[in-house]
Amino acid sequence: MRFLPYVLKSLWRHRARTALTVSGSAVALFVFSFVGAVRDGLARLTHGREAERTLVVFQANRFCPSTSRLPEDYARAIAKIDGVRDVVPIKVFMNNCRASLDLVVFHGVPAEKLRAARDLTLLSGDWAAFEGRADAALVGRALARRRGLSAGQRFSIGEVTVTVAGVFTAASAAEENFLYTHLDFLQRTRGLNSVGLVTQFEVLLTEGAEPQAVCRAVDAAFRDDRAATDTRPKGVFQAKAVGDLAELIGFAHYLGFACVGLVLALVATTTVMAVQDRVREHAVLQTLGFSGPLLFRLVLIESLLVSLAGGLVGVGAALAVLAGSGLAIGTEGVTVAFTASPGLAAVGMSVTAAVGLLAGLVPAWQAARAEIVASLRHV
């Protein structure tokens, strides 16, 4: 700590260079964190208890939710299958079936099922307002932020117009991009023509039920019925729905690595230049009694501080944008939420610290091993 003023003043000495490096690192770490947020969002969709212990029954050989039309009375038959705790019929309506950054997905769900099956916390409005009005809708926080919606407002997509009864937050970030309305309201909406039909069923399992066995049982029950079904665990269903996006997100993973490489190159260049500029100064410090290991640490701390400053700005900005924008990308009714999380911040700052230390290793070694007499002659 007693050498910190010297380290900070050394960084301040070439403040334009330091600022450029910090800003370059910040941009790269902003992108890195953003990519991380997308990957996290995808992982949350496909992993976890809900993804593995909840099934989605969809019409066989259908892809976009608007093409899946299952009889609502299937719910009764599904409920009788061993291992099924509850069945939630859902009518899905959305503004776009293709990949979009502004996907608006309506989920028509019976009010009593919605309250039981979803872990929603109202930030504004109330359940009574939702239950008491046919065209009422509960809007996820991210969607409300993106579209500027608040309780009491009316909101239309195509033929569907709803009144916002409340804004909710949910345990699942992806959920916050949905809009929940009454099932029968959505079924009766002019243009949708789907009275008695739903898009899908969500099947909640009892403890100990084997998901694959229940999937097979459901599909077997309706193989020769009016519409054959395709039942999968929710995680698998969502992974399939966002399959093309997942490939893109997988590619973006390499973009994240490239950003880390960029930060490494930037910080290493700055640190190398800082050491080369101070060959004589380091020799003076050694003459005064600064040991090689101490100089090594001082250079390493300089490199670490530059990297951490870039990380704080970049990761901080990414978290702020993610938290404030409610960004999500969606396709086929499934959304991947870009969410800020403490884990993302920890990963971002850990990578920043590791890159800072790595970038400083070679110049720190050079500074520590320099011959004093030769370095004192350095101009």
């Binding site: 000495r13 005064l288 090689g292």
Partner: protein, 233 residues
């Protein structure tokens, strides 16, 4: 027992495939509290000898013992620790750290010693006072004249109370008036602190400040009035 014992020291290195020997079989004792000037022409080996005494260079052969420690046998890191505790170095071109104030420059050697902040503050105050720059403590090197910079350099060299202070042409970059002031300061510090001073200079006037003058020619010690060839014979 002398503070510095230099025994049969030779320094040799290769440059462009050619062997250079800046010091050849030099032996010298320096007593505690002495003020010695090392004189000689450029390339005579005086700075090399000074650097060996300061422990920032190593001889190719021979022994350099300072205050009972054979500095030629210390590892790089131990030698650095030894320098921090035992040696003060005054450079010709001052070599102050430009981003640090006069106070912070003088404090640098103390950061390496187990001293409290209060103790460091006290010692820096005394050192700056001793060189007459207490009122310039907050000034950066660029805000000081050459003579003032060198006085800060001297304060930095003596602040840790080393057993020996070495000075490499301390007046080499100063005008006559400033040189006189700096030499007077060195002589005063030697007398008041009792610290041993070894000063490299090629200026006879500067050398005259010292109590003892040692002359080097072509890497060998020369007794006053004796040329190396005659001595070897």
């Amino acid at each position: 027992m002398p503070l510095v014992e230099i025994r049969n020291v030779t320094k040799q290195y290769r440059k462009g495939g050619q062997a250079i020997t800046p010091l050849r079989d030099v032996s010298l004792d320096i007593e505690r509290g002495d003020f010695v000037s090392l004189m000689g022409a450029s390339g005579s080996g005086k700075t090399t000898l000074l650097n060996l005494i300061a422990g920032i260079d190593r001889p190719s052969s021979g022994q350099v013992v300072v205050d009972g420690t054979d500095v030629t046998r210390l590892s790089r890191t131990r030698l650095a620790h030894w320098r921090a505790a035992h040696v003060g170095y005054i450079f010709q071109l001052y070599n102050l750290i430009p981003v640090l104030t006069a106070y912070e420059n003088v404090e640098l050697p103390l950061l390496l010693l187990p001293l409290s902040a209060a103790e460091r503050r006290k010692r820096v105050g005394i050192a700056l006072d001793a060189v007459g720059l207490a009122d310039r403590a907050d000034h950066y090197p660029r805000q000081l004249s050459g003579g003032q910079e060198q006085r800060v350099g001297i304060a930095r060299a003596v602040v840790a109370d080393p057993v020996i202070v070495v000075a490499d042409e301390p007046t080499g970059d100063l005008d006559a008036e400033m040189s006189e002031q700096v030499l007077h300061l060195l002589r005063r510090l030697n007398a008041e602190l009792g610290t041993t001073f070894v000063m490299v200079t090629h200026d006879p006037k500067a050398a005259a400040v010292a109590r003892r003058q040692v002359r080097l020619e072509k890497g060998e010690l020369v007794e006053p009035g004796v040329v190396p060839a005659v001595r070897r014979a």
